[in-house]
Symmetry: C2
Amino acid sequence: MLPSSDSTISTEEKIKLAARTVFMRKGYAATRTRDIAEESGLNLALINYYFRSKENLFNIVMLEICQLFASNVKELLNNPETTLDQKIEQLVHHYIDMLLSNPSIPFFILNEAHTSPDIFLSRIGMDGEMEELYIVKQWKELVNEKEITIQPLHIILNTISMTVFPFAAAPIVRAKSNLSTDSYQQLMEERKIMIPKWISMMLSNKK
Amino acid sequence: MLPSSDSTISTEEKIKLAARTVFMRKGYAATRTRDIAEESGLNLALINYYFRSKENLFNIVMLEICQLFASNVKELLNNPETTLDQKIEQLVHHYIDMLLSNPSIPFFILNEAHTSPDIFLSRIGMDGEMEELYIVKQWKELVNEKEITIQPLHIILNTISMTVFPFAAAPIVRAKSNLSTDSYQQLMEERKIMIPKWISMMLSNKK
DNA sequence: GTCTATAAAGTGATAGAC
DNA sequence: GTCTATCACTTTATAGAC
């Protein structure tokens, strides 16, 4: 969980908080240091006093968001105590809960991954080896057992797509569907339950 | 289909082409008019000579992209000759083919929808009335017939999510999966076939 | 630490020569 | 139509007073 607004926090933290808000809303390029100063209610010069440069401040903010985005996921996927279905369920729950609290994260991540892929990829810990995770072992067992031919990548893509995309496209979807903020959150709560079921259906279909 | 690079085209068209490339890669804010001039191989002053301003040029480019993104879809969804399943199949085919030719479109659309939602929404023709489309009638018939309780919005979200998101997140997915450009395109071709089947499964499940 | 004032660099746009 | 040179303005960053 990222720290939220508070009146007892330090100036440095206030700037970082404001920077996170504005960077997530507008992206790096469209954000001016003046916007961050205004958002924080502090003087423009303090940004450079505490963080040296806009770019440096952005890197710090981005690192924290990436860590938030990746947190707990590895442990969850490597847990020998839960079944494959349970892992998917937990993953979907985890991400939808996080995105309900931080709905701009997908836009931010996609934006940075697209505009500067190299910098982004090196930061988010793309080096982590997937093959050793317990979920991979469970997947292989399922393949043997049920004679599934579907590529795991499709299932991963489907899970992440159905979970994350509705947040990334929220402005468009909400405009088209005429849903209030509350109704949209309600819709996402429904998806927390349903996405694991849909994925389960895909997995149980031998085809 | 957007016009592609050619040596016999006018200066005006060259600028628009270069602008499209750079705007789609970097978004509006991060793009400098100098980048467009460089990409086109032409002089900086010509951009203002032909298009008056960066913003005006962007609006023209964006309008064309939005039209491309929306083209044929309404006709497809309003066709009385095809079944519901066929419409979904055609929709997925249409979009994956288009995105294979223009993989940066999702990023571009999401970026502009997020950073300036009002401007974007007014442009993409969000005013079009959905209720009159033939597919809505077919959906209602299906609901009566099979006693489905699932909200149509979930199905729409799932279809668009599974189709579009893998393109929006391509840099991340490709890095994680170590897939070549060719293999990634192959994967998308597979999804053209499979996504309609998955959606069909969701629809046939009464739950 | 926080402010004002300003330097330094970048960027959209145009004037005017060719 | 196309170029060079430059203006006008914005934006990041810093110097120096308090």
